[in-house]
């Protein structure tokens, strides 16, 4: 039971896909201008992540290694299209707001990354729990960023005016440059609060190519060039 909770909560903060693993940066920056859009994007990606992790984990022993990436992409694209069609039919305003970024969930690194790194190697239950944790982590990061940008950039929260702040907004926070600024501050804050040690993340074991790398070492050092800069 403890393992389940650990698996679930690791995605929220310790291995947050956006603020720690730095995946899904593009939709994070684009969709964090308003809280309602950020929540919509986060939950849509979470739904796709849960479904794709479930199916990929279920088929992990059937899918040949040679065609695993095309298979993952087909599965992920299918669920994205399903979410897109359902949203177009039942939540048209959110569909319009998310625009092209909804379709781009297909190429969201978080989803393909979790399929390749976790769902293809673990059981169905663990993969779903991992997807829930990572999806909520993505949603949480988007929510935090959007809250800062919308409240201080536009003086509103979910479209409702925030008294006092409304008169002292910082409009640049709504722009791309403001988005990068808030993103950087949040990453720094998470690193400071949870005392992450970046070197460990970039060791051989943390490398996405670890399974295939001929230079892989068991200790934390890496023979590849990646280790030089960290």
């Amino acid at each position: 039971m403890m393992k389940v909770w650990k698996n679930l909560f690791k995605g929220l903060v310790r291995e947050n896909p956006v603020l720690v693993l730095l995946l899904g940066t593009c939709p994070t920056l684009a969709m964090s201008q308003s809280v309602s859009n950020a929540l919509g994007m986060g939950l849509a990606a979470t739904a796709v992540l849960i479904c794709s992790n479930f199916v990929i984990s279920l088929l992990r022993n059937v899918i040949p290694d040679k065609v695993r990436i095309p298979c993952y992409i087909v599965v992920i694209a299918a669920f994205v299209t399903v979410v897109e069609m359902l949203m177009h039919a039942f939540l048209p305003s959110l569909y319009d707001a998310l625009g092209t970024f909804l379709s781009l969930i297909v190429v969201n690194c978080i989803i393909l990354g979790r399929a390749e790194m976790y769902a293809s190697k673990n059981g169905v239950f663990d993969s779903v729990i991992d997807a829930v944790g990572m999806g909520l982590g993505f949603t949480l990061a988007l929510f935090c960023m959007a809250t800062v940008r919308e409240v201080f950039g536009a003086g509103t929260f979910m479209g409702i005016d925030v008294p006092v702040i409304k008169s002292f907004t910082v409009p640049i926070l709504k722009e791309a440059s403001g988005g990068f600024f808030v993103f950087g501050v949040l990453i720094a804050l998470v690193n400071k609060l949870f005392k992450r040690e970046p070197k460990k993340e970039f060791s051989c074991a943390g490398c996405p190519s670890a399974a295939f790398c001929s230079l892989k070492r068991e200790d934390s050092s890496c023979e590849g060039k990646e280790s030089e800069g960290v």
Binding site: P64, K66, V67, C71, V74, A77, A78, T81, M85, A89
Partner: protein, 169 residues
């Protein structure tokens, strides 16, 4: 060889299942999406014809000016709504607008739906409210936006001519 065949079979099977799943979801959502689009279109038409309830789309006959892109008749006989796009020779991004015409042939309201020029029209379209087809030329062009004003007036005149022809039938 066997591995290759297995790869092909697995990938093909996944694609097949996905296609069936998408077809099923599309079967459920497509009518709702079309209904929503129709409601949104009807709402955009109601904006320019006060009191209108529902519209039926009329087919554009031969000889209809290229600037007229759609013609709708209010089912209770309140009037017509015409969707208009200015001539492509005016700009790479033509101005589009919706004009409501009363049963008496007068302009009820105009809603600009696309205008990408740098200098704005402001409330220029409002100066045509209540005018009939023959009175459009009497309105001066908007200072500083001469080309857009001319293109707008030509397209508006086309819209009213089309309505007059349909009403006369």
């Amino acid at each position: 060889m066997n591995k290759n065949i297995k790869s092909i079979v697995v990938l093909f099977s996944i694609c097949l299942v996905v296609a069936v799943l998408l077809a099923a979801v599309n079967y459920i959502t497509d009518p709702i999406i079309k209904k929503n689009a129709l409601l949104a279109e009807q709402a955009s038409l109601r904006v320019v014809l006060e009191g209108a309830e529902e519209f039926e789309e009329l087919s554009l006959g031969e000889g209809t000016p290229a600037t007229v892109t759609g013609l709708y008749k209010e089912i209770n006989g309140l009037g017509y709504v015409v969707t208009v796009s200015t001539s492509s020779s005016y700009s790479q991004s033509p101005m589009t607008f919706t004009v409501g015409v009363t049963a008496g042939g007068k302009i009820a309201d105009i809603e600009i739906t696309n205008y990408s020029e740098t200098k704005n029209f402001e409330d220029y379209p409002d100066s045509f409210k209540g005018l009939g087809g023959s009175e459009i030329n009497g309105v001066d062009v908007f200072s500083g936006v001469t080309y857009s004003s001319e293109a707008f007036k030509t397209a508006l005149s086309d819209a009213l001519t089309t309505v007059e022809e349909v009403a006369a039938k």
